[in-house]
């Protein structure tokens, strides 16, 4: 009976209060103390800046649902962003750049999945190792320098609009729709719930948990590739340390969004709200002129508090 409960969709009523309350509290707080926070320009800025994080946090949700973790995502994003910059600079083609980013990202994702599923290395150490590798490769391909002069076709992705909506937001919405469909309306999605909740059941059903696990990590790597395109477009350059640490914001968004680290329960909409909460927190602190170091520290505190509450809930 418990297994059946885990595989079914989570009860949103139990979760909405947590992350929504955090978001409302943050918005109320910064509306009161941060001048200009509630302006349309600033709020849409928060949303546009949250798009890269959305593309990391959604696959991170799936990975954490399998009781895994991907610490390499920020470093892989850095590497794919550099690949996009270097290839699009050499070929003048945005699509070839995106292709290179996707390829490299997916390769790292498959490597992560292979290490975790086939070799059985604990995910946090396996992906810590690949974090080092991606970080090293970023330094090697860029020789520690920024890659500048990338073509307009790449840069325009970040600033263009589609029917009045910024293209990054369109991309994030499409990504969300794809992940929602994948997780809640396909068999693969059900298997992902089972990977965290009841791996044995998959084996009895004649499926290979290992192959599914590799697929989940590969999706994470590929998404880092797409996010790499946005990153390069946003900075108008490739930089060897650009995305380092972004995996932590993604983990924070997932944790705040109510996905559990221990029971294979995930909630995609919660993750999106978590992404916005992290974005609001950083933006608000920025508006009251606190340095980015304080933002980093407060995201750290946010994660620890969210995990503590998660632990309380699981014991209750």
């Amino acid at each position: 009976m418990r297994e059946a409960a885990v595989i079914s969709q989570p009860n949103p009523l139990q979760r909405i209060p947590g992350v929504a309350m955090v978001l409302v509290l943050l918005i109320a707080l910064f509306s009161a103390i941060a001048p200009g926070f509630l302006s349309v320009a600033n709020l849409s800025n928060v949303l546009v800046q949250s798009t890269i994080l959305t593309m990391l946090a959604l696959p991170m949700t799936l990975i954490i649902m399998t009781e895994g973790l991907d610490l390499s995502m920020g470093a892989v994003l850095t590497l794919t962003s550099l690949c996009v910059a270097i290839v699009s600079l050499a070929t003048k083609s945005m699509l070839l750049g995106l292709g290179a980013g996707l390829l490299v990202g997916a390769a790292f994702g498959i490597a992560n999945g292979w290490l975790v599923a086939i070799l059985g290395i604990p995910p946090f150490v396996a992906t810590l190792g690949t974090l080092g590798m991606a970080q090293g490769l970023s330094l090697i391909v860029s020789d520690g320098q920024s890659v500048v002069g990338i073509p307009h076709s790449v840069r325009d992705i970040y600033s263009a609009t589609l029917l009045g909506v910024p293209v990054p937001i369109v991309m994030a919405l499409v990504t969300y729709a794809a992940f929602h469909g994948l997780l809640y309306h396909t068999r693969f999605g059900t298997y992902i719930f089972a990977l965290g909740g009841n791996r044995e059941a998959l084996r009895y059903a004649g499926l290979s948990p290992n192959r599914l696990l590799i697929a989940v990590y590969a999706i994470g790597g590929a998404m880092a590739g797409i996010a790499g395109l946005l990153m390069t477009a946003r900075m108008n350059s490739g930089h060897p340390t650009a995305g380092l640490g972004l995996e932590f914001d993604a983990i924070a968004a997932v944790a705040v969004g109510g996905t559990s680290f221990e029971r294979g329960n995930g909630w995609l909409l919660g993750t999106v709200l978590g992404v916005i909460a992290v974005g609001v927190l950083r933006n608000g602190l920025n508006l009251i002129s606190l340095p980015s170091s304080v933002q980093v520290a407060s995201v750290g505190v946010l994660v620890i508090v969210a995990l503590f509450l998660d632990g309380l809930r699981s014991r209750a």
Binding site: F124, L128, G144, P291, G300, G311
Partner: protein
């Protein structure tokens, strides 16, 4: 009565000899790397380079030795590098403000220890998985350090203080003596005291440890506090050797420390490993990085190689254990 408890906790004899064989292989690997480097590079066998390797290995060892105890309990401390940075910056400020190195050293050790204690509280009282709790702590510490330093660099410390990291005694660098002291203390503590054996027991089987009356939470607190204090010690050596402190000095320290622990044969799943193994691990890692340096491979390659080594070490460990069972 105490003897019976001790016998029950101590690992069976066959396990110990298995550990001895593993250590022997690792020593052999270290020697092999030395031989290869001696052939490839003329300057490897120079006295200056060997002392340099030992000094570098001792820095990695200080951080990794405390981490070994954490990993023995099947935990992980990802915050050690960031802890070194914060402790170094605070200790440096204290020395600058008061002019007293002794006070600075105490502050550095205390800062490291308090951070470790907080990690322990998150793991025991709040029951957050250790790798996530200490990963969160990593970013909290990073943020605090950058905010505290605000882009400044502390520079220039009293000559006496600088001796700790860069001085010599009877021809050997002072950190090497410290290494020997802490290698001795760590080994004695882990192998020859009840607390040490209880730490092994917690890692091997936490439920059995609790049922046999070991105060698991208190031992875990101790282990994380020791790991933090050793990071504090490393911060002092760093400060005194570099003669400066910056917010970013910790960023490249965590992965090598974890690599040293894992190469040294301490199992990520807890209960197996030795502090001496970690010393050999630190030595092997330093030899590899030193060799790359001597063969003029760009420092950009170091994270890549360290990452590969971490994964290889875990994989080898799991393979040998599977075969042994």
């Amino acid at each position: 009565m105490t003897d019976i408890t001790k016998d029950a906790i101590a690992p069976p004899r066959s396990f110990l000899s298995q550990d001895a064989i593993q250590l022997f292989y690792r020593l052999l690997a270290a020697l092999l790397i030395c031989a290869v480097l001696a052939v490839l590079s003329d300057s490897f066998l120079s006295l200056g380079n060997i002392l340099n390797v030992l000094r570098q290995a001792s820095l990695t060892f200080f951080i990794a030795s405390g981490l070994t105890l954490v990993v023995l309990t099947a935990g992980l401390d990802l915050s050690v590098g960031a802890n070194v940075a914060l402790s170094a910056c605070i200790a440096g400020t204290v020395i600058h403000k008061t002019g007293s190195p002794a006070l600075g050293i105490l502050t550095g050790l205390a800062c490291g220890g308090i951070v470790g204690l907080l990690n322990g509280i998150m793991v025991t009282a709040l029951r957050i998985p250790s790798f996530i709790a200490t990963y969160g702590m990593l970013w909290v510490l990073n943020g605090l350090t950058y905010w505290y330093m605000a882009g400044e660099t502390l520079h220039g410390f009293p000559a006496g203080f600088r001796q700790i990291g860069s001085g010599y005694l009877f021809g050997l660098p002072i950190p090497v003596y410290l290494l020997l002291v802490f290698l001795g203390i760590g080994t004695l503590f882990a192998q020859r005291t009840i607390w040490g054996q209880e730490i092994y027991a917690i890692g091997a089987n936490p439920v059995a440890a609790r049922l046999s009356g070991i105060p698991v939470a208190r031992r875990l607190l101790l282990v994380y506090a020791v790991s933090g204090t050793m990071a504090g010690l490393a911060s002092i050596i760093f400060l005194s050797r570099l003669n400066s402190a910056e917010a970013d000095i910790g960023e490249s320290l965590t992965l090598p420390a974890i690599a040293a622990v894992l190469i040294g044969g301490t199992s990520l799943f807890g209960g197996v490993g030795t502090v001496f193994g970690t010393f050999i691990g630190a030595l092997i890692l330093t030899l590899v990085l030193n060799g790359m340096n001597l063969l003029s491979v760009s420092a950009n390659w170091q994270p890549l190689v360290t990452g590969i080594i971490v994964i290889l070490a875990v994989w080898l460990d799991m393979k040998t254990r599977r075969r042994a069972q």
